[in-house]
Symmetry: D3
Subunit: 166 residues, 6 copies
């Protein structure tokens, strides 16, 4: 029998800890956090950014996203599929909303002088998050370096260098 606690979550007014290399923090409110979301096809997250913090290029394998800027200014964008690979980007001000279609690579960056806050909603109770850098250069175990060198058309030493950061 469902209880009220299955449908609620607290603390989204508090800034996440952004002391990390990219300078952002995602606080998820997915079915793993709120069991009442199961089968409902929706979830959300708060994203914090110090000045110049980025939410580095990522995708949701099972969801579209709609993002609202609560504080400061964000540069955001997504890239369309092959073969166009168009960058659809915009600088968002407080109160602006932006849509990232299902599965496309997207990113955000705080281009203001204060902390930025955004609220994102996702079209799945369990959208998944794939940070491209983590998936490509920080998997466990590593993707073979020579394969990545060919994929990104650079010397293997550059791949080693990037892999060492993840």
């Amino acid at each position: 029998m469902v209880q009220v606690n299955d449908f609620t979550f607290s603390g989204l007014h508090m800034a996440g800890n952004t002391s990390n290399v990219v300078g952002s923090r995602v606080t998820p409110v997915f079915a793993a956090q709120v069991p009442g979301l199961n089968t409902l096809g929706i979830s959300m997250a708060r994203i914090d950014f110090p000045p110049w913090g980025i939410n580095p290029p990522y995708t949701h394998p099972r969801a579209s996203e709609i993002l609202t800027v609560l504080e400061c200014s964000l540069q955001v964008g997504f890239i369309t599929s092959n073969p166009e690979n168009r960058l659809i980007a915009k600088v968002l001000q407080k109160g602006d909303v932006f849509v990232f279609p299902q599965g496309l690579v997207h990113f955000q960056r705080n281009i203001g002088h204060t902390n930025a806050i955004a609220i994102a909603a996702l079209s799945s109770q369990s959208p998944g998050v794939i940070t491209i850098g983590n998936a490509i250069f920080g998997s466990n175990p590593d993707i073979p370096s020579d394969l990545l060198a060919k994929a990104f058309q650079v010397d293997k030493n550059i791949i080693y260098q990037i892999q060492s950061r993840f």
Copy 2:
């Protein structure tokens, strides 16, 4: 060919006009406002409430909702289907999140002393909104008064009285 404007909306930082009988205003960001949402299965809205303003009982015929309180305190709840008709309710503070499952009747009320703001996300690009009062007592043309009198088990004059407000 898609353009950046198909994916964006501005002005959600501004309070909606709550000078109305219920004391709340929903500012929708649905596919009608943002064409890029089409087929993406998500949308959102801002809801404003002056002190004691309510978002009166309503449903979304095609969506679940997840709501976040940005300012002040909201009393919220939903009612489960027949035969239990349980009220699942909670007083939310700033930063609290609450889930309203697909199609269930739900409501919010500002129980604080200042303006309340909430952001809601919905699991459809075109969720629809049915305000129960409008649908039952304010349809065009009216539902027959004697039918409503029987449905709500009150004298027809009471139905006339309620219908006259809508």
Copy 3:
């Protein structure tokens, strides 16, 4: 391993007991009654009405409905979403069929002189039923009366009066 009994239900030729305040009875054939319906996206019900009996305004949170009149005449209707709140209504004779789109508020009333019978089919194995009166005025616990007074723009005593009937 499935058995024939998982796919069958008996007794739908018998009138339901309509001795109640609204004057109708819904006999459901949902997945709770017929386990073989699970995942199949369909279910049905029989609805009985004595003369002037009503099936008071209700919604299905997870289904559209298609109704066929087997006996007598029914006045039926549904109300479209905000902002139009149009009543789409019709008097149905024996053999008439009517469609109630997903999640919209709808109702039926026997306007003939004999018992009316309808068969309804629903686009979910577990459609749910929300009788608006029960949800709004008969929930457990009650929705606060002053909230409902504001929602329906009437004196709180009228709300108490309606709540006392549920």
Copy 4:
């Protein structure tokens, strides 16, 4: 703008013409007949059978079916997929309900002494109907006879004989 006529159909109380070789008639109420059904995921049909009339083995490529016997007795069944090919069958009396899962071959036969009537609901606004006999032996143009002879492991003359009936 939708009109009430988009949501209604008349005449389902009238028996279909069953003067044909199989002895049954399906009267469909699909989106082709009722445009308001579009996107709603449901439709229905009336089926008439004189004594010993059959609704010969058929499938719906895009729907499950739930059938209710309104008059007389029907012998009904469906066959599960490979490799079991179990026949799940039952004799239904007036008021009995039976479920045919999505895409499975099923049939009905009136085994009473009077006309039988059934109402069927389907989990698609456009379910499609494939009568196995028509598809296999009556297609336009024909499936090659020698292919069918091998498929059904009989002499080609028997296939010609069956094809000549369709």
Copy 5:
């Protein structure tokens, strides 16, 4: 926790055993064989045919199919629903692809002089396979012979004859 073996299958380069009355063999790679396919909405199969072997008329109750000829030539077709029952057919050469829409009856036959091989993909992790001959004439227990005689408009002895082969 998922393991690599949940996502893999071996041996699809080996011909299936086609020593059977129809002269073909389907080697399925469905969720039953590869558990990682669960919820992913896809699966596949290899089909082998000696010269003149057929994959007799069949349907997938829950999937569309896309087939590629790897070796030799196949005559393939599907039949549209009632009332047209059009045969949409083609002779495919090595490297040709053909689509069989969801739930429609379809077949293949090797019309070349060597073994034919095809790879088929299906839009469900658990598509099901219904061989029409098996379902109609080889179910367990049998569909009543007189019902089938009427369905196919032939003498009951012919039905007995066909049933005896299955």
Copy 6:
């Protein structure tokens, strides 16, 4: 009215031109190539690889994939979502099948001494393809280099170098 040509495609037996920097070629058979695939939820592709050719890391925003090796040996893998970023990888021989769940980053590499061929099926008629390198380093216009430098934690000159290759 549908025609047979709406459901067919030719030439998949021919090797794609792999004279490019990554050493692979995808020949798609999507709804853009075969209109009959529309609404059917499936499509496919042939992938060619010379020795050491790679299909560099990519995702399908709207589909899962199931791949079969027709010739030679492929090293394949996918990376799970945050936070694990596990590499699930395997060396496939001729006749091996591998599954790439919806939206996850995956890749293939020919590790044999001859040309490799694979057939892939996808759970959408319009799956989309995002080559990570193209989307991140070759978009039009470019993603800002300093944002990418931070995302991948390397000097901006390395980003410039990679961007210049795309």
